[in-house]
Point group: C2
């Protein structure tokens, strides 16, 4: 620790001389021996400090002739720290606002838990374990399917819900979104049609636009997609794909009913439509609900998911479970577009965290904490005359109709001026018919100032 | 440690009962108290063991009624562990063979260093540091551009080579390949034409095929692409993009000369062609060579790179440096296709490893080690009558013409029967005119058995 401080003292002294122009670009730094005497530290400390500055690109070593000050870097601007108020409120809007927002502000519009709600102790322990892993785990690309231990773990988890998928039928990916992206690249061609729920996760629309396909929205009900509307859409538009969350649907928090699941599968079979079942919120369910993949197997349903919502969004890892022949094709595609398989590093961390007892305990506590937050935020919203469209049995979303006449896009813009990121209904709606709705993330609404800002935003838009 | 062993004893006892069918799917496990007595351990140890088995999906807890054995998982097959001998030798062939090969065999055909040549000590230290990081680094998605400290670090490094690119002009990505993939998605449409070197990195071809564009090869010389051929290709085919490695070109190890660089830039300007400069091998150069991006700025050149070759391929992280307006568009595309930015986790590890003095020392030692390996392998190849097409000044590739009449694809197939992965010339060649060449990775050829297998493969194909 003390050695650390001495090294910092030396680096700071050099930085100070560069900032004060007593050392200019191209100048040679004092010799190690001389500067050690000046600073009253050992030569090894100066070596460490110069190395660090060289690694940062502040100075540069020329073998045999010492260290020299580098040229100035391009100026640093702060445009990436400021919210863009003037940007159109489209699916990208919420993504970028919530990802790039001030980290000190709660974000009721975002799709994740606050960092201090996450199982950080479990991750820290997994990291310390990883520091003792084999060299190959730390350095190599790893196999094309991704780490076998995590695939086996998922296979066992699937078996528990009645879904038979061997580790060979599972492909790890860089994230849940990347999993869908790979599937879209594999199955879709520009101009194809894809059915999504209306409303649906806004990034499905952004992703599908990147694939230049036509988006068909089917109204979503508290029992899942409207079954008649779904069948009609398939009949009329001949889509190639349907993408949905079956459990704790984003943004509504509803879950498909067994009967709707059966109707959706029957219609999809009739029209030869492939279904992507995005299971990303499944771990928030108190009891597992029916799933398309476990009802149908993996013939026309593709299961995807990730660990971003309950473990870590910083460790990027997702998965695809699908027919064996599709998995083979998806592997080639993933190699071509993101050479190597998914990060062995990430998979190892995910596996070791998920299989720890700490994680299970964390999840039990989290379920209770979320139930409390859902009911507390519901009560607070009631004071504004807001009732959730649906009362979810898990997760962190409340999908709410605003008091009559209020435009949620206006409210979101007004709140953003106070740096509060909200998620207005139409970013979720392919038909743009959800302007009166807002998705609230209850885990991000524990501070009274959130409701103060929302109240002012309501007033501004009334 | 002893606690760990006791827990394992309990988990193994349960696994044994399940394997021996004395506990069957659906059966209730012994109560915690009773099994603690049976195993002569504390109840806490049994809880820990049951939790671990539950997390693995072997057993399942039903609140209030205990733990139960889960149904069997789908059978595990070993198809992902066996090389596919019958697959066509195309760009995917080398990727999948080398990624999925037996980890105990050296891989002269692969594009990376053996795990024990990598700076694992530096990574282990960075991991222990990361275990003490803020919650947000461990759990959050992070900003859309990726970690600021790593972008600043890169900006300073670029400044040192005369390339001015502020942190705002840098976007972190999931890998170097993903960086090129994003650029292709942004700039290309199906049917567009793209120029690559002939030979070039085989995955450029796989990636471009995924984008359904036409690949135009320009013959590569020891001074870079053939300048006349390049100008002619631009004139004839009106390509949108040129993708190349300027420094230590893959597979030849050659580096573009200043004069060729100037000619390439002039021709590209005349025909409005964008250039992707993949800098992935730059850190292996003893002295920096001229670069297209530093000559031209970032007007029509896009710089990409990653840390896979010198730091870790397991920690996935790459970058793009480009015009500010293009970076903004690429951010949207990365959010849409891989929600969130690049992994904060990966970026933090990369930054803390790269800025450590241990990394610089490792790189100095690695340069010496590689120089030794290049000369030793060259001598060994000489005995087979093989001379490198070019003697590179850094890196780990030797691009070699085989003794007359030998077909490198035949040699690669024969070697694979002995589980040795080689990289035959035509996987690198858009024109399929490099059948007599082979790319050797000198860092993977330290064991005599490698040359024994190659000798037998030569005989089999003579």
């Amino acid at each position: 620790m003390e050695r650390q401080t001495r090294t910092e003292k030396v680096t700071e002294a050099i930085r100070g001389r560069i900032a004060g122009r007593s050392l200019q670009p191209g100048d040679r730094l004092p010799s190690i021996r001389r500067f050690a005497q000046t600073m009253k530290v050992s030569p090894a400390t100066v070596v460490e400090a110069y190395d660090r500055l060289a690694a940062e690109g502040v100075i540069r070593s020329r073998p045999g002739s010492g260290f020299f000050v580098c040229g100035p870097a391009a100026p640093f601007t702060i445009s990436d720290l400021e919210p863009e108020l003037d940007r159109a409120i489209d699916p990208f809007w919420v993504s970028r606002q919530s990802l790039d927002a001030d980290t000190q502000m709660p974000k009721p519009g975002c799709g994740w838990l606050p960092a201090d709600w996450m199982p950080n102790t479990v991750i820290r322990k997994a990291l310390r374990g990883l520091a003792r892993a084999d060299d190959a785990v730390l350095s190599d690309y790893g196999g094309t399917r991704g780490a076998l231990n995590l695939r086996r773990f998922l296979s066992r988890q699937f078996a528990d819900e009645g879904l038979r998928a061997g580790p060979d039928q599972i492909l790890l990916t860089g994230s849940g979104t990347q999993a869908i992206d790979l599937i879209c690249r594999f199955l879709l061609r520009p101009g194809d049609r894809v059915v999504v729920d209306d409303p649906c996760y806004f990034n499905f629309q952004a992703l599908l636009k990147a694939h230049q396909v036509e988006i068909i929205g089917v109204p979503y009900t508290p029992q899942g997609p409207d079954a008649d509307g779904f069948a009609k859409a398939l009949n009329e538009h001949r889509p190639r794909l349907y993408i949905t969350n079956c459990a704790l649907h984003n943004p509504t928090g509803a879950t498909i009913s067994p009967q709707t699941a059966y109707q959706v599968l029957t219609a999809a079979a009739e029209h030869n439509v492939t279904i992507v079942e995005d299971d990303i919120f499944a771990a928030f369910e108190p009891e597992p609900s029916p799933r398309l993949a476990s009802l149908e197997g993996l013939d026309r349903v593709i299961r995807i998911g990730s660990f971003s919502k309950t473990l870590s969004a910083s460790i990027r890892c997702g998965y695809i479970a699908a027919r064996q022949d599709w998995i083979e094709a998806l592997i080639d595609l993933q190699v071509a577009t993101n050479f190597g398989g998914p990060s062995p590093f990430a998979a190892e961390l995910v596996y070791s965290a998920l299989s720890s007892s700490g994680y299970r305990k964390h999840m039990e506590a989290l379920h209770r904490r979320l139930a409390g937050a859902r009911s507390e935020v519901s009560m607070n919203l009631k004071r504004f005359g807001i009732a959730p469209w649906f009362v979810p049995r898990g997760g962190f979303y409340l999908w709410c109709r605003l008091p009559s006449g209020l435009d949620s896009a206006c409210v979101a813009r007004a709140a953003l001026e106070e740096k509060l990121v909200l998620a207005p209904g139409n970013v979720f709606s392919p038909s743009q018919s959800n302007g009166a709705f807002m998705r609230f993330n209850v885990s991000q609404m524990g501070e009274p100032r959130v409701f103060d800002i929302i109240a002012r935003a309501f007033l501004a838009c009334a």
